[in-house]
């Protein structure tokens, strides 16, 4: 962890026209990103990088040590964790979180906003836009692009719909359906991860969400649910790019445990 050399001691943040500077922590596993963002923010009088963290643990420590307005957090740092965002919100309720993601994904984006993140931005965001984003979020606003607004509203509608008619079928994303399809063909998490082009941990996260949505507890119940509700029939009649290859040629049986 680097408590930045230009970090002002606690209580001595730069003020510009009487406005306190925005205190930012950069949490990123890659030094090149931290260095780059720090240089970008260094040119702004109203933004001060108070600390840098390369792991989640370091971030917790930094938040404890430095009063913070905004955390710019690399999405990869919280990949595979379930409670990292709520934990960050709990530990530093005044710090507003911006998560940088490599690619936008409906499920993850909705989940991030649901858990308390104030902004989700691409890793490739331009410096000017990142600065604007930090200012807006420090000011109490939420930073959300049009696509994410649609996803969040859709999730809100689906939630409202399921509350008013509990028997309605839960909405599953295309990726969730692709993973379910793989599961019912007996594929292991590792194989699905390889096919979808992600990690095994991400597949496990998706599965937990799918189980919660459908109210099933394991692969057997998931397969039976698919058989009963025929949710894959409709999905597979509308082929998606996310479902790439046919089942393995060896067709071997696989013991199926979550």
């Amino acid at each position: 962890m680097d408590f930045s050399s230009n970090a002002a001691p606690e209580g001595m943040e730069t003020e510009l026209d009487g406005t306190p500077a925005i205190r930012v922590i950069l949490a990123d596993s890659q030094a090149i990103y931290r260095v780059g963002m720090k240089k970008v923010f260094a040119l702004e009088d109203d933004i001060r990088v108070v600390a840098q963290a390369e792991t989640l643990t370091h971030l917790y420590t930094a938040l404890q040590r430095f009063p913070t307005d905004v955390v710019v957090l690399e999405g990869q740092l919280i990949a595979g964790t379930v409670n990292a965002i709520p934990e960050l919100v709990r530990r530093a309720p005044d710090a507003k979180l911006i998560v940088q993601v490599v690619e936008s994904d409906e499920t993850n984006t909705v989940e991030l906003y649901r858990r308390g993140v104030r902004g989700v931005v691409p890793r490739s965001i331009s410096p000017d836009l990142l600065i604007k984003c930090v200012r807006k979020i420090a000011d109490g606003e939420t930073w959300i692009d049009n696509q994410s607004i649609s996803w969040v509203i859709e999730a809100y509608r689906a939630q409202a719909s399921s509350l008013t008619s509990p028997r309605s079928q839960p909405k599953l994303s295309k990726k969730e359906l692709a993973i379910i399809s793989c599961i019912t063909r007996g594929m292991r998490n590792k194989e699905i991860a390889y096919q979808i082009g992600t990690t095994e941990q991400v597949i496990k996260n998706y599965l937990r969400k799918v189980y919660d949505k459908l109210g099933v507890s394991d692969r057997l119940e998931l397969a039976l649910y698919c058989l009963h509700h025929q949710i894959l029939k409709k999905y597979n009649s509308e082929p998606e790019d996310v479902l790439l290859a046919a089942p393995e040629a060896n067709g071997g049986a696989r013991t199926a445990k979550v």
């Binding site: 019912t184 507890s217 057997l220 029939k233």
Partner: protein, 88 residues
């Protein structure tokens, strides 16, 4: 969910209809039931047309019967599923 299945028992195969299945077990009805404590095997076929897959898929389960019961004029047996695998 009611599905017609063939159950392999220690005394041969029997035909049965599922009344309820979960991760923990199965309740099924049939004319003749396997004995309590006996081991059973059964396969649930899931047609490609329903599962949207290129070929049929199936769930093969092994378990053991834990009790018998009568509901109306149905003779039923409950079994614990010890192991299962999905096969394409």
């Amino acid at each position: 969910m009611q599905l017609a299945i063939r159950i392999k028992t220690e005394d041969g195969e029997i035909e049965a209809v599922t009344e309820n299945i979960s991760a923990n077990g199965i309740l099924f009805s049939g004319e003749s039931l396997p004995a309590v404590d006996s081991r059973i095997e059964f396969t649930i076929d899931m047609p490609a047309s329903v599962m949207g897959s290129a070929s049929d898929v199936s769930i093969h389960c092994t378990g053991r019967v834990v009790r018998h019961q009568v509901k109306g004029d149905l003779k039923q047996a409950a079994a614990i599923i010890d192991e299962y695998f999905l096969k394409a």
